[in-house]
Amino acid sequence: MGQFPMRSWSVRCPAAQDTEALGRALGRLLFPGAAVALVGELGAGKTTFARGVLEGLGVHGYLHSPSFSLVHEYPGPVYHLDFYRLEQPQTETALDWEEYLGGEGVALVEWADRCAELLPPRRLEVRLEVLPDGVRRIRLTAHGTALAAVVAALAATQGEPAGL
C-alpha cells in the first residue's frame, strides 16, 4: 500500500474482555462505508474483537461467528464477513462482494488475508497476535485519511497518542 496516508497504533489486551472493549471503542468511531480487515491465527480473538465492534456500532442481539455462513447482515447496514472457508482468489465473484465491501455499510472481515484481493484499498487492518504469555497484541493500521483519524481518535480514547 502507500498511496494513502497510513497510521498505525498497537495495544496489548491481557484478557478477552479487553479485546472486546477495544472493539467496542472502535465501533463507536466507525462511519458508513468503513471496511475493517481482521487478521490473526485461529483463536487470536477476531470474533471477540468483532463482537465488540458490532456492539459499539449499536448492533445487538444474536452475534456469533460467520465462518460457516460467510456473511451476517445487521441493520445499519453492518456486514460481518468471514473468509475462513474461502481459499481461492474470488475473481469471478468480485461483483458479489462489492455489495458488502464497497457500499454504504460498515464491513468487518474476519480472515481477511485469505482473500486480500477482495478488500478495498481504503481500509483499517487489525492484526491480532497471541504473545507467549497469552496476552493479545492488537495492531491497527489505517489506509486512508478518514480511517487514520479513526485510529488517532481510538488511541486518544485509550489514553495514548497514536504513533506513526
Partner: protein, 335 residues
Amino acid sequence: MPEGPTGAHLTLGIETSCDETAAAVVADGQRVLADVVASQAELFRRFGGVVPEIASRHHLELLLPAVTAALERSGVRLEAVDAVAVTQGPGLVGALLVGVCTAKTLAWALDVPLVGVHHVLAHIYANFLPEAPALPAVCLVVSGGHTDLVVLDAAERLTVLGRTRDDAAGEAFDKLAREMGLGYPGGAALERLARGGDPAAVPLPRAWLGQDSADFSFSGLKTAALTALRRGAPSADLAAGFQAAAVEVLVEKTVRAARRLGVGQVLLAGGVSANGALREAMARAAAREGLGLSFPPVRLCTDNAAMVACAGYRRLERGERAGWDLNAVADLELT
C-alpha cells in the same frame, strides 16, 4: 408417471440456504416419499473453498432437476402437490433467493399454499419424520453454522433458551480438525480419531457461562485445544479431550434446561447430532434423568428438504401461510 398416493396431502420442500440444493416430497407431513440432495461439496473441493456467486448459480442449475427428481422418485405428478415449503432464511441471500423464487413460482402456478420456514426450525422438524415426538421438548440444534437450545411447546411455538456467543459447535470441530491436518470440514474425521484417544489425557476447559446460562461458547475450548496441539499433545488424545469437553457442555445444558422447565422430552438436530459421542452421552443423560430422547436418522441430520417440507406442513396446519411477497431474509430471526 404413476399416480401419487391417493388422499395424502403432499408437500414439496425446497432448501437452498447454503451448500446443498435439495428438494423433497413428504406425505401428510410425516412420510418421506422422496428426498433429493444435490451437494455442491464436490464442486467446492475442486475450487478449494466456497464460492458464493458460483453457489447461487449452481443452486439455479441444480434446483429444477432436483425438484423433477423428487417428483419422479415419489411417483407424484407436479399437479398433485398440495403445498410448497421453502427455507426463507437465514443464509446467503443469493442462495436463498433461488429457492424462494422457485417455490413462489411453483405455488402460484399450482394455486396451492406457500410457506416459508426458518432453517433451524426445519432441522428440529427432522425429528417429526416419520413420527412426531412428544411435546413440549427441549431441542438442541448443533451444526457448522448453528448452536441453539430452544423449547418447542405443545402448540409448536418456539422459544430460544440459549445460543452460541461465538463459534458454533460444528465450526469448532471443523476448525480444530483442519489445524490437525484432518481436512475441512473434518468434524467426522475428528470423531473417528477420538475413538482411539484418552479423553482425560489432555484436560480442556468447559465454558458454562454461569450456572443458569443456556448460552454456549466454544472459542475458548477451540483456543485451548490449539495451544495443546502446538505443544505437541498426542492427536488422538487431543481429539478425544476436545470432543468430551464439547459434548459435556452440550449435554449438560440441554438436560439442565429440561429439568428447569419441567420438560420431559429432548430432541437433537443438525449435522453435529450425527456425532456418535454426542448421541451416546445424551442418551445416557436422558436415561439418568428419565427424559425421552429423539434424534433424526443420520441422513436427515444434515441439510435436506424433507425437514423443510415437514416444518412447512406443520406450520400450514397452524395457519401460517405466506403471501406472494415472501422474501429471502439473510438474518431471519428464529421465532
